[in-house]
């Protein structure tokens, strides 16, 4: 890499003084110790940054990064992803009426159906996300508006959650469970996917509800409060303002998926980093049979439209995606590696020119004889 030499300075010349007289000086002397450390003579590597010494580094970086970048790019390209926006902004979009008529106060839900076609079959496990745009889940006051101890099943916190939850802490005398703005704004659209058989029959695609949250979240961070059953455990608490049903009835189909350990809830509670984000909604597990998980063809997405986003100019999407070892589809990293590698290579060439033009003399000084 860089021209270097371990430069252990000759120490022979220095310790003649102290060693020879060490015995004689029984009297306390203020003479400093002659050690490499105290005399600042520690052996050291002294790289000098010049075009000549640095350019190998640039070439090496270039040569390593470009292949990695290509590999990443290819991997990312192999990932299949399908995305559909069902917000209903346009008049012709199926959910237009739902989007415009719905508000948090609505008591009845609105449904709409979106048809789409997958050009290519999706192999392996397919992950179904919902995506929100312009939703600032990372807002400072929003992020704070939760009580982790309550979510962890702490009995006292259930009755008396942290002040961070304000103003979603109590309704009258009853505490809200789960409290806070994050829980209050839980995404509550439900999506159902049907494969349209060539025959025209609708074949429901099995969507797994479990396994979408971090294992540690579901098993460590989130716990239901102790109690004979959930309703008694949550007795004396109120549901969040925007919710239709209490927390222990989130998943009517699976009693284990209720309360604070409801995985949709857990996923939502992990606040997104950026205003445009997606969250894992369901997993479509790979078929045992040889057919693709999602064969190409027409699909129908049934949406129970509960979540208003138009007020803040938000968008809602449904995303189907396979994943690779490096996560979802994102060509950026591959491109970045290729770019940085190329820049390094280019700079290496520049340095080579500089080196040849200007650096020869000082280089010759580096290598005497």
């Amino acid at each position: 890499m860089m021209a270097s030499s371990y430069n252990a300075k000759d120490e022979d010349g220095h310790h003649s003084g102290s060693v020879s007289h060490g015995g004689a000086g029984t009297a306390k002397s203020k003479k400093p110790d002659n050690t490499a450390f105290k005399q600042q003579r520690l052996p050291a590597w002294q790289p000098i940054l010049t075009a000549g010494t640095v350019l190998p580094a640039f070439f090496v970086i270039g040569l390593i990064f470009i292949p990695i970048g290509i590999g990443l790019y290819v991997t990312s390209n192999n990932i299949k992803e399908f995305e559909i926006d069902y917000t209903g902004v346009n008049v012709d979009s199926p959910c237009y009426t739902c989007a415009n008529n719905f508000s948090w106060n609505s008591t009845t839900s609105c449904s709409c159906t979106v048809n789409f076609t997958l050009e290519q079959p999706f192999e392996n496990n397919v992950y179904m996300y919902y995506g929100l745009s312009n939703f600032y889940q990372n807002h400072r006051r929003y992020v704070k508006s939760r009580d982790d101890r309550q979510l962890n099943g702490d009995a006292t916190a259930l009755k008396d959650p942290s002040n961070d939850c304000e103003p979603y802490r109590k309704i009258g005398v009853e505490t809200i469970a789960p409290c806070g703005a994050i829980a209050n704004s839980l995404f509550n659209d439900s999506l159902e996917l049907y494969y349209v058989e060539p025959s025209g029959a609708l074949n429901a695609v099995p969507l797994a509800k479990k396994g979408i949250a971090w294992w540690t979240d579901r098993n460590v961070k989130f716990r239901n409060p102790a109690g004979v059953d959930l309703p008694t455990a949550f007795k004396g608490t109120a549901k969040p303002v925007n919710w239709r049903k209490p927390v222990y009835e989130l998943d009517p189909s699976d009693p284990d998926n209720n309360g604070f350990i409801n995985e949709d809830f857990i996923v939502w509670m992990r606040t997104a980093a950026l205003p445009t984000f997606r969250k894992l909604y369901r997993i479509i597990h790979k078929n045992q049979s040889s057919t693709s998980t999602l064969p190409s063809g027409r699909y129908v997405l049934n949406i129970t439209y509960n979540y208003p986003v138009l007020s803040f100019d938000g968008r809602k999407r449904m995303i189907l995606s396979t994943i690779s070892w490096m996560g979802g589809k994102n060509p950026f990293l591959g491109i970045a590696y290729i770019t940085v590698g190329s820049i390094c290579f280019f700079l290496g060439v520049v340095l080579l020119i500089i080196h040849h033009k200007y650096d020869t003399r000082s280089n010759s000084a580096d290598i005497p004889n």
């Binding site: 004689a24 000098i48 961070d164 996923v267 997104a272 650096d359």
Partner: protein, 1472 residues
């Protein structure tokens, strides 16, 4: 005298015995209201520690700021972090400082306790005896009995002493470092007590001045019952901390106790200075605050707008404030502004101040530990007394040095003398001194073998054996051969100040010795035959008087080494008094010195009056003395009075016995040298009492000189005198010793017809000039015989002066002036003050480092100039500009003309520049980059300026100071002679303030203190002249030559380390904070942070703290060896090249770029994914940390294992903390609650991919820039580093080459040192004119130049070329490094002028071939320019003389530089 009015009355109604003073009955001590002797130097008590320490810490603005920020967190609407957590860093910083303070305070407390519990004997009035008490129980007014070798517990007025002379000797080493003994006298009124002092009988009141810190002043009265008042002076006061020596017992009364003692009042802890770097840093901290405010404002406005766009439709994620109120956009913007200040607080580096302190302490530690700065001889190493200006050492531009004791050893060696106009060259003595020098160097060679020295018997004098024997101890004493030996030698010499054998063993000049012998035998003969002494030829009388003067005209104390600190008592009992003059003895020698049986009341009267004369103490009655004098006149018939031994006494054996046994302790080394010199001529000082001096002369035996007065030395009179009664002639004789310039003026104008006398004076002056030319310190010895009437007349005035209350000093001064007139010149001495080791080399290399060295000395011009030549301050090559003026106008004119002269030289050299362009590579020696100063750059020429004190006084006048500076700064070296301490400090102040440069003052004596205090950095030499300079200094060095390593190596390192560290700090914080700033664009400017608050707060404090501390402490850009061999590298510090204002902004821009990279690469990598806030933020933190560390790696120049370890530790610490933190608690750490985040990330390949690419992408520009900079614009430092990388022997060859060339007088520069960037000369004509105040269109064209001449390059340069061919890495190769090409000679680029400029000079200026006042013979081949100005013809008589004459030759045949003849010349040329 204002002090008189300030007197506080210590109404020591002390212990009036109960019968007389009923009020005091039963009371231990009536002075209870004064402070007790308990000292408490601690700042805090247990209770007051916390509030007081906090209060002190809050004096630092930064601390207040950080506490304010932390407290802001507790306001609910703004709180960004968990309030408790936000307090953590502040508490941490405060507690670190508090612990440090506590520890220091505890140490103080311990030492206080130890001191307070020391024992002393205090008189108890109840028990009526002395009792042991603790020091802290001592009170004002207590009587204390002190025994030998006891330390004084308080300031004590001496009331009684066991010493028969009523003296008490003290050693003040702990106070001022002076190891010689000082005499203190019992208060006059208690002088006569023959019995032991009885405290019960004491009933006087003492009134004295308020406690003050002036060690050399004490005034007061003692008022006795009888109403009589006696004055008290510092001679009566024993100061706390001193040690009683030589005195078995003394009793005193406590005057000041505890914190009111002078020792405590002088004890004012370490000084606080702010370094230049820190000042610069503070500016940038201020910029950081501005950046912070701008960022906060931007975010606040952004937030307001973001809120505004939603209007009334409140989105679900915009949470209401806790109290449920809906905030208006404006209000939330305001709140957010405060929040952001908290979030971005890291931008103002909280740990910067602490880190800087830590690094400085480490730097100081390493400087302390440096073996090269350790002086084996004195077992002392460098002391850093100011802890916080280490980096200033690397930025010095001007050095102001004292000469004596700083450049020279201040070991005065008698070298030669002239008596009665005859010179005694003391050749053997010269050989002897040379031998010591040889031995020094020889010993260095054989030091490693540890062998003994070859015996050298080359000394021909009869003392040779003696000398050689001595030389062994000298060798070990002076050199660092072996520590044990050095120790032994130092123990041997411990009891005598200023007396290394070299100084003691003077080899007498045989001729002079013969004369002394002859003379004394004649006198002996005459004495035997009762002939009047006046029959002695005047020559011989002068000789014997000369030696008597050397012996007695001083304040030397005699002691014997066998019983250290014990005075040798020559009792009269030992001798058999001569019967015939017994009567006289009774009358004129103090009775107590006689056998005691015959003491009578009349003698006691005489005694008291004698005493009155003998000291500066007031005498109770002038009348009695006068009466006595009248008496004397009657008894004047007693002609031949001898107090000495009868002729049968074998003086010789006795003198042999005593030879080498007596030790002399002098206040100044000059005096000791003279006494030793006299001893070599068998004229030895045997005893000194306050009123009597005993001298032993060959053949004559011991003579007692009655000491009537001592008129001490002062710097205004520049002389001292003693008034004695000569025992042989019984005349009242005044012996005066002083600087030749003053003495010569006081010599009695020769009577008409006495040509011989005039001749003697002329000759002596001639020799004096010669001595001075040899660099010797010259002193003139003169005598004056007073008639009784004259004496009586003078005495009357003098006694009045002594007893005066108001203005006593002035009156005494005038009185002394009256006495010291019409002197008879006896002779002159030349004392050699040897240069310290390595001074010329040090000065040469400091100068090459671009430092301007000015020498400010009190010495006379000739001596100073010659020392300056000897230490290579002035170069024989240089032209010397001497400014001597008699009046303000003359001075103004001189300065004007000098300026013209300098400009004229510019003009000429600029004409030659094209032809000399070729030389530009060789010539940048003297260009001094003034880029940092604001005044137009003057380049420095090969020109020396010599100015004397009087002219300096004029030049420092407001009206002339600019001109003076303009002249001085264009000279390569400046020498100010005859300057007073005040002038020294004024010069430093002037240069510092006007030129805006960094100044360093170095000195060793009390006269340098003011200069040391004024300079940016004050350096004290812990040498022979006591500790005052050290006490005032920031750094104390054992030797001058250590300055080289201190500045060139440690200064450079400290500066470059700290500068880089500070810049790095700014970079680091800006980089980290802007990550959060960018995030605000993606979180609705809500003040949210993706970095966990713990990381955010501890990032600076823990994760990234250690490597930078290590680098700040240990990084070496260039090795010590190279730095010392290539002093030019020091210029990088002078020009602040490591930390220029633009670098701050460059760093800021780089920080912004890097943070953009570190933010957006993860941003795009995770865009539109299901990543959550902290799973996204943690990689960013990691990436930022890695980037910051690698950035430090790029900036680190030396990688030792410590660096590797610290970086590895930082990374490991981060991951360990992160993993532990993320696993510790699933419900805590709201709001981030990062449970298992790091663990999850570590399983994610994306994390590693990000951590690889992001730091590389972020650091690519800087790395590339550094590489290009290294190749395209290498600075000298980089070249130095390249040298370091060469194998050791090759490097040594190259550096050795430079040493070869350093030695050669013509080419001071090894060629590859043309690496110095040629500073582009930006001549600002306007400025220049305003400074110069001169007309001249010449000035406009004036180009920088130097007077190096074409022809000079020849032989050594060729030799060098030859060398360069020998070594493959020839300097010539380096020489041709590209940047010299890049710097085409600018119009203003300094060019080496050719011989033509002297041509031109000739044209411009009037030429004269002879000059009376050539400065030195050493410079005979030199161009010396004398600016001579006659005040009476000031308008037209300014002449520049180009004197190429030979000057004075030793044989004395040349120029009759006779004083009187000269005076006529002087009226023409006013050479002073």
């Amino acid at each position: 005298m204002s002090a008189v009015s300030k007197r506080v009355s210590i109404t020591t109604c002390l212990a009036l015995s109960p019968a007389y003073c009923p009020i005091c009955t039963g009371e231990e001590n009536p002075n209870r209201h004064y402070v007790n002797n308990k000292i408490k130097t601690t700042k805090y008590t247990l209770l007051s520690f916390l509030p007081k320490n906090l209060f002190e810490q809050f004096h630092r603005f930064a601390n207040v700021y950080f506490v304010f920020i932390a407290l802001l967190n507790f306001v609910p609407v703004v709180n960004a972090f968990q309030p408790e957590l936000a307090l953590a860093p502040v508490v941490f910083i405060l507690s670190v400082t508090a612990i440090k303070d506590l520890w220091e305070d505890y140490r103080r407390h311990r030492s206080d306790k130890e001191i307070n519990h020391m024992d002393c004997l205090v008189y108890s009035r109840l028990e009526k005896r002395y009792m042991e008490k603790y020091w802290k129980e001592v009170r004002v007014g207590d009587f204390i009995r002190l025994r030998c070798n006891e330390i004084l517990p308080a300031d004590v007025l001496l009331l009684s002493s066991s010493d028969p002379d009523r003296l008490c000797h003290i050693e003040t080493a702990t106070l001022d470092g002076e190891t010689n003994l000082k005499q203190r006298q019992v208060v006059r009124s208690f002088y006569d007590l023959d019995c032991e002092f009885d405290p019960l009988k004491y009933n006087s009141i003492i009134e004295c001045e308020k406690p003050n810190n002036d060690l050399n002043r004490f005034r007061g009265y003692i008022i006795h019952r009888s109403g009589r008042r006696d004055a008290l002076s510092k001679d009566n006061l024993l100061l706390r901390g001193c040690t009683i020596r030589n005195t078995e017992e003394a009793v005193g009364i406590v005057i000041y106790a505890g914190h009111e003692t002078k020792a405590m009042l002088n004890n004012n802890g370490p000084r606080y200075k702010r370094s230049k770097l820190e000042r610069q840093m503070n500016v940038d901290v201020f910029w950081c605050v501005i950046i912070l405010l701008v960022m906060c404002l931007f975010t606040a406005v952004g937030h307001g707008l973001w809120m505004f766009q939603y209007g009334d439709k409140r989105p679900v994620f915009d949470v209401l404030s806790p109290d449920g109120r809906d905030l208006s956009p404006i209000m939330s913007a305001i709140y957010l502004f405060l929040t952001m200040i908290i979030v971005f607080q890291v931008l103002i580096p909280i740990s910067l101040f602490v880190s800087i302190e830590i690094v400085k302490i480490c730097q100081v530690y390493f400087i302390h530990q440096d073996l090269d700065l350790y002086d084996e001889e004195t077992d002392s190493h460098l002391q850093c007394r100011a802890l916080n200006i280490t980096e200033d050492l690397g930025q010095m531009q001007y050095i102001f040095s004292d000469k004596t004791g700083t450049l020279t050893e201040n070991k005065m060696v008698f070298r030669r003398c002239t008596v009665a106009g005859v010179e005694y060259s003391h050749d053997a003595n010269a050989r002897r001194i040379a031998m010591y020098q040889e031995m020094d160097s020889e010993e260095e060679e054989c030091m490693s073998h540890g062998g003994t020295l070859p015996r050298r018997d080359s000394v021909t004098s009869y003392q040779s054996a003696h000398v050689v024997l001595r030389s062994h101890s000298t060798k070990s004493h002076r050199r660092t051969g072996s520590r044990a030996e050095a120790k032994r030698a130092s123990i041997l010499s411990k009891h005598t100040a200023f007396s290394s054998p070299m100084e003691k063993d003077v080899t007498p000049d045989p001729q002079l010795l013969d004369k002394v012998n002859e003379c004394s035998s004649q006198m002996d003969f005459m004495r035997l035959h009762r002939q009047p002494m006046s029959q002695l030829t005047s020559d011989l009388a002068d000789i014997i008087d000369f030696f008597i003067a050397l012996t007695i005209c001083n304040t030397v104390v005699v002691s014997s080494p066998n019983q250290p600190r014990h005075k040798v008592r020559m009792r009269f009992e030992l001798k058999s008094p001569v019967k015939t003059i017994e009567d006289f003895i009774k009358r004129f020698t103090p009775s107590r010195l006689t056998s005691g049986s015959n003491s009578s009341s009349s003698s006691s009267l005489n005694r008291s009056s004698n005493r009155g004369c003998s000291s500066l103490l007031s005498s109770p009655s002038a009348d009695s003395t006068l009466t006595k004098l009248n008496e004397e006149q009657f008894s004047g018939s007693l002609e031949h009075t001898f107090s000495a031994v009868p002729p049968s006494y074998d003086g010789k054996t006795s003198s042999n016995l005593e030879e080498g046994e007596l030790r002399y302790e002098a206040e100044s080394p000059d005096e000791a040298a003279l006494v030793y010199a006299a001893r070599a001529y068998k004229c030895s000082l045997v005893e000194r009492l306050p009123d009597q001096v005993t001298v032993e002369l060959p053949h004559l035996g011991k003579l007692n000189f009655e000491l009537l007065h001592t008129l001490g030395f002062d710097s205004t009179r520049k002389r001292m005198s003693v008034v004695v009664r000569h025992p042989l002639t019984d005349q009242i004789t005044v012996y005066t010793k002083g600087a030749d310039s003053v003495i010569m003026d006081l010599i009695k104008p020769p009577d008409t017809g006495r040509k011989t006398l005039k001749k003697i004076v002329c000759r002596t002056q001639n020799y004096l000039n010669l001595y001075a030319a040899d660099g010797l310190r010259t002193l003139c010895i003169a005598r004056k015989v007073l008639s009784k009437e004259e004496y009586a007349c003078w005495l009357q005035h003098h006694l009045q002066a002594e007893t005066a209350i108001q203005g006593r000093e002035e009156l005494l001064f005038e009185s002394a002036l009256r006495l010291e007139t019409n002197l008879h010149l006896l002779g002159a001495t030349g004392i050699e003050d040897r240069l310290q080791d390595g001074v010329p080399e040090t000065i040469a290399s400091l100068r090459k480092a671009g430092l301007q060295i000015w020498v400010l000395t009190g010495d006379k011009q000739e001596t100073a100039v010659n020392i300056a030549y000897a230490c290579k301050l002035l170069d024989p090559e240089e032209e010397i500009l001497t400014l001597n003026a008699d009046s303000q106008e003359a001075c103004a004119l001189l300065l004007e003309e000098s300026l013209h002269y300098i400009q004229a030289k510019f003009l000429c050299s600029s004409g030659d520049q094209t032809t000399n362009a070729f030389h530009s590579n060789f010539a940048p020696v003297e260009t001094y980059p003034f880029s940092s100063s604001h005044i137009s750059p003057f380049s420095v020429h090969r020109l020396g300026l010599v100015i004397d004190g009087r002219t300096l006084a004029y030049a420092l006048d407001k009206s002339l100071e600019d001109k003076f500076l303009a002249v001085a700064r264009s000279c390569r070296s400046v020498l100010c002679c005859r300057s007073t301490p005040l002038q020294k400090s004024m010069v430093v102040k002037l240069v510092r303030n006007k030129l805006k440069v960094m100044t360093l003052a170095i000195g060793d004596g009390a006269n340098d203190v003011s200069m040391i205090q004024v300079a940016d950095v004050g350096v004290g030499i812990s040498g022979q002249e006591g500790m005052q300079a050290v006490m005032a200094s920031d750094f104390a060095l054992p030797r001058f030559r250590y300055l080289q390593k201190l500045l060139l190596v440690h200064g450079h390192w400290c500066y470059s380390r700290l500068a880089n560290m500070i810049l790095y700090f700014f970079y680091k914080n800006a980089m980290f904070v802007s990550l959060i700033f960018w995030y605000q664009f993606y979180c609705g400017f809500s003040g949210s942070a993706m970095v966990d608050q713990w990381y955010l707060i501890f990032f600076n404090l823990m994760f990234s703290a250690f490597p930078q501390l290590i680098t700040g402490t240990l990084d070496k850009d260039v090795s010590a060896e190279t730095l010392q061999r290539l002093p030019q590298l020091y210029m990088s510090g002078q020009n602040s090249e490591e930390y220029k204002p633009y670098m701050f902004w460059m760093n800021m821009i780089d920080a912004f770029y890097q943070s953009l990279a570190c933010f957006f690469i993860p941003y795009f990598a995770y865009a539109d994914s299901d990543v959550d806030l902290f799973t996204w933020g943690t990689p960013i933190t990691t990436i930022a940390l890695l980037t910051i560390l690698v950035q430090l790696g790029i900036e680190t120049k030396t990688w030792t294992w410590v660096n590797w370890l610290s970086i590895a530790f930082s990374v490991a610490l981060f991951f360990t903390v992160a993993l532990c933190y993320n696993a510790s608690c699933p419900t805590c750490y709201s709001p981030s609650n990062p449970y298992w985040t790091m663990q999850k990330l570590l399983q994610d390949p994306l994390f590693y991919l990000l951590c690889t690419i992001t730091p590389i992408a972020a650091l690519l520009p800087r790395y590339f820039y550094r590489a290009c900079q290294g190749t395209l614009f290498p600075n000298p430092v980089r070249v130095g580093r390249q040298l370091d990388k060469l194998p050791a022997d090759t490097r040594r060859n190259i550096l050795g080459l430079s040493r070869v060339t350093v030695g050669s007088p013509l080419r001071a520069e090894p060629p590859f040192l043309s690496l110095n960037k040629l500073s582009p000369e930006s001549w600002n004509n306007k400025d220049q004119r305003s400074i110069a105040g001169s007309k001249t269109s010449q000035a406009k064209q004036a180009a920088a130049s130097q007077t190096e001449e074409k022809g000079q390059i020849s032989p050594p340069a060729r030799m060098e070329k030859h060398f360069s061919d020998l070594f493959p890495l020839a300097p010539s190769e380096l020489d041709a490094l590209p940047y010299t090409k890049n710097d085409p000679p600018l119009p203003g680029t300094p060019q080496p002028p050719s011989a033509k400029d002297s041509e031109c000079f000739r044209r411009t200026l009037q030429l004269s071939d002879q000059s009376v006042n050539v400065s030195t013979p050493l410079v005979s081949q030199t161009d010396s320019i004398q600016l001579n100005l006659a005040p009476d013809r000031a308008s037209e008589c300014v002449r520049f003389r180009r004197s190429s004459e030979t000057g004075l030759r030793p044989d004395g045949t040349v120029q009759p530089a006779c004083r009187t003849a000269q005076q006529e010349e002087q009226s023409l040329h006013t050479a002073l």
